[in-house]
Amino acid sequence: MFKCKTSPEVGGMGHSVKRKEDARFLHGKGNYVDDVKLPGQLMMVMVRSPYAYAKIKSINKEKALAIPGVLAVITGYDLKEFNLHWMPTLLSDTQMVLPTDTVMHQSQEVCAVIATDRYIAVDGAEAVEVDYEPMKALVDPYKALDDDAPLLRPDKEGQEDNQIYHWEKGDRAKTDDVIAKADVVVKERVYLPRIHVASIETCGCNASYDKDTKKLTVYLTTQAPHAIRTIVALVAGHVGLSEEKIRVIAPDIGGGFGGKVPVYPAYVVAIAATFLIGKPVKWIEDRSENLVNGFARDYHMDCELAATKDGKIQAFKVSTLADHGYTDSSANPSKFPTGMFSICTGSYDYEHAFAELDAVYTNKAPGGVAYRCSFRVTEAVHAIERMVDKLAAEIKMDPAEIRFKNFIKKEQFPYASPLGWNYDSGDYKQTLEKAMEMIGYDDYKKEQAEKRAQGKLMGIGICTFTEVVGAGPSKDFDILGIAMFDSAEIRVHPTGKALARFGTKSQGQGHETTYAQILAEELGIPYTDIEIDEGDTDTAPYGLGTYASRSTPTAGAAAAMAARKLKDKGRKIAAHLLEVSEEDIEWEVGKYFVKGAPEKSKTIQDVAFAAYTNIPPGMEPGFEATHYYDPPNLTFPNGAYICVVEVEEETGAIDVKRFVAIDDCGNVINPMIVEGQVHGGLTQGIAPAMYEGIVYDDEGNVLNGTLMDYLVPTAVESPHWETGHTITPSPHHPLGAKGVAESPTVGAPPAIANAIIDALYPLGIKHLDIPITPDKVWDAIQVAKAKA
């Protein structure tokens, strides 16, 4: 167990202190982008394509412009004058801001209407007349590489087919060889559906350009304000927007989950509009725009897992087809087009693996966001965890036993994985044992045997995942060349209270509390005396933002390192105040004292005061420190999840009886917040496992683009989650912490899928793709019965 070093009043690591940010949200005083109203505020609404693939023959603005209050209609042609009609994506592809001739997916932005009021802007959008010539849309990614497939991106030089890239990692020949010779090989095509983050606050911006000062201020739903500032400067520098004149403010964010990392075309249009008009322009996405644009997952994975007949895994191979829509706008680090997908070898010790991926264009919305997952880890974990279960079923071995047999052992860490990761720490055996004990695994096994004997369908599903988070070491990780470090800046005021600023941005994770706790742990200043500030590029130090569970691994570490710099300075000041040499000063949380004479001491507050009032000769005044933290490695949180379900044979209805999640995220800053993050992630895990998936028809129309037919789980669909912990600190993180918020989203879907498939196994059903809905189960049961 983790032992707290500080008192509850100081509130350092390990204390479940209540959140400092709650008050404003509880009283309706949060300040989200749509709450920001500026003098002279104008509103923008996008006109969007009803077709998935069409030529634009003409856009007639006249009727719209005739409406009183409609000020402008901006088209691709208007932007083309400034060379702003296309923008680069993070992965060297290009995306239309507004089209000049072709629309590539349903709901693509076609033009923008700017008006004095929201309602008038909507009227204007209705009145714009667009003449389209629809074309046959390419919807099925498996047809994208057919000879007769239309070439979707003739605009790209050298692009002769619809393949975006091929990626591979590992030793293909050796892996194939081991698979060919293995006693047992299980194969499956595993699909992770296209889903949407669906944060309850949609995306939006309020862009305001002052023609006199030449300053652009953008309030933006962004998880990475600094990166956005740099991107805007790079994309629009040629029209005169230079980086020191751009201020990006991420105010309160109503949930991000990766969906608020990308630059959406409407942001650029709003910036262009305010730049031209000189008045603030606000755009707030409506829910359908939100659900139909952007996406996560959409990986079709052909998996092969080879093992000895007694269940020792020998090799894993996965060949993936990735549907990226019409452009690759994945929000991944530059050198990782498939993100951290190569974590797909999982928590198991074997030598041979090979992963490859082909990414293709289709007439669908672009996106590829890292939805509460460190860049494609969810896909990777689903693949291996489904296959391990399939192997267990094939050789009639208990799914827990096969995992114990193959786990990387505690003493093997740091562990070099077959596809090149260096796992930092873990005790997988202990974590799974704890989960089994908590849920009562053996009793459920007995109950299952009894139920099966009565012909009832009951399933137990396990997932033991390894995450890889905290991008990342700058030698490997960058976004547009910018190293993925993060930062903290601490100012301790003369009275011993502090202000700390960060390059990250909370979207509900509770940074205002947890960062203050890290500083309280390091400095002994009570967390209630420390204000945390993030999200304003004019005041915060540069950082790459909050996604991929990177805040604790990077900015949290930066906070600790900056605090340690302060402590070093404080030691000199304390020596001066106590009139001893620096070597004679010792530290215990919150105070310096003289070695051997603990009654002679100075608190951190005394020292802070002296830094401004009684400065040692030759020392720079003030008590401030900044640190930019470049992590030496990623961190590898892990967990063991177990789910128990019952399935009703007559209807296909699935009842999740129990779900236990044991997470190991290293040392814990605030257990209450960690538990809350796990709950939230689990509900976002059951969502794609049982309910969510964006459905397209053959013409490329989205069939479930509203919350009426895209089922975001309510409190009724969401089970009562049970959680617990093991603690294996990260050896390289200054606080031994690892990051947690994404583990449950990654770990829950395979645990649930494995449980349902386990329930159906007696009927001969060996695999189902998620979302596993009652109708899918019912169909599968009918097919299985017909066969039998």
Binding site: R19, A198, D252, I253, L682, Q684, T706, V712
Partner: protein
């Protein structure tokens, strides 16, 4: 476009305004009255971020015309407790970590007020069904349920003390 005069009481204050017939109540509250604690999360009455109390019942203000609220008595999140103080529900959401990003929170609290009014001692299942018109993407609902339970207990204690 038709214009109408409306008068209503919002958080104890009387408000009179001339509004377009098509103006949604949520926009009236947010934009005309600058009470931005009431949020918008969808366009199909599914998310509940816009929930307010109207004549003692929780309603979704995104699907309600302002003109229809003429003469109504409305409470928004800004009005559920005196400034600087917490209602039992607000306190319970804080104590039980019933909020992350806070976007759903005003609607959740107002909806829970109505739930506890009609059912002061709900079971977990009744709470889950009771708030199922309100979506939260962050918390996984466990702690929202606990928050409502805590508030129910506190309210019962208070009631007992007052008799």
């Amino acid at each position: 476009m038709g214009k109408h005069n409306v008068t209503m009481t919002i958080n104890g204050e009387s408000v009179t305004a001339e509004v377009d017939s098509r103006l949604l109540l949520v926009h009236f509250i947010r934009e005309n009255l600058d009470l931005t604690g009431t949020h918008i999360g969808c366009d199909t009455s599914n998310c509940g971020a816009c929930t307010i109390m109207l004549d003692g019942k929780s309603i979704k203000s995104c699907t309600y015309l302002t003109v229809r609220a003429d003469g109504a008595n409305i409470t928004t999140i800004e009005g559920v407790a005196a400034e600087g103080t917490n209602s039992h529900l607000q306190q319970a959401f804080h104590d039980q970590h019933g909020l992350h990003c806070g976007f759903c929170t005003p609607g959740m609290i107002i909806r829970s007020m109505d739930l506890l009014k009609t059912n002061p001692n709900p079971t977990e299942e009744e709470i889950r069904w009771g708030i199922s018109g309100n979506l939260c993407r962050c918390t996984g609902y466990n702690n929202i349920v606990k928050s409502v339970q805590q508030a129910a207990t506190e309210m019962a204690k208070e009631k007992e003390a007052s008799v």
